[in-house]
């Protein structure tokens, strides 16, 4: 099993329901052939650097997955047949590439948590001061 990353462009006029259907189709194709999906992320609707099939915009979808190398050539052929997918690129990645992303996310989460804690402490202080005031009255 090796790690791969696929970035593909879906037809720009597709609304959310049809878009998720296309993504689910791709995910199913991977899992049915002995692969496992690590994560899926949408890069959103972007302007293309050049026209593809006369479209100026496209929905970018990024999927990290694990699969046997033999499956990839078949997967590429299958992707070419799909008319909703305008362009695609499959890249081998290393484990450390994924780990780096996780680390960044963890750091961000920690920041958020620490902010929350600070807010709670401030609230406590306010409560205490309010109680003291009442006692003084």
């Amino acid at each position: 099993m090796k790690l791969y990353e696929i970035l593909f462009i879906v037809h720009p006029n597709y609304e959310e329901a049809r878009l998720t259907k296309v993504v689910d189709n791709v995910k199913e194709k991977i899992t049915n052939n002995g692969g496992t999906i690590i994560d899926v992320s949408e890069m959103g609707k972007k302007k293309l650097a050049y026209k593809i099939e006369n479209h100026r915009y496209g929905n970018y979808i990024l999927i990290h997955f694990e699969s046997e190398p033999q499956f990839i050539s078949e997967f590429k052929k299958w992707l070419k047949i799909q008319t909703q997918i305008l362009a695609r690129i499959i890249v081998r990645i290393e484990k450390k590439d994924l780990e780096n992303d996780d680390k960044k996310e963890n750091v961000e989460e920690k920041k958020v948590v620490s902010e929350k804690v600070e807010v709670e402490i401030e609230e406590d202080i306010q409560d205490e001061s309010a109680e003291e005031n009442e006692v003084a009255k």
Binding site: L7, I9, M43, K46, A49, Y50, I89, N100
Partner: protein, 75 residues
Amino acid sequence: MAFINKRKMCKFCEEKDIKIDYKEYNNLKKFLNSQGKIIPRRVTGLCTKHQKRLVRAVKRARNIALLPYSYNLEN
């Protein structure tokens, strides 16, 4: 241009946090000229390792329409 000093050290060797990734195409734009061509190593001042990675990233980004093959065709 930012690459006047020839003796400058490779930018990616100096700042190791910057990843060369084809998905972060805005970082790669600095290494293209107005036509969209890749600027050569003697001008960018990058080391062999990082220039090679940069070239690979730019070519991948072009393939998936994040960067143009040429700015002239568009207009």
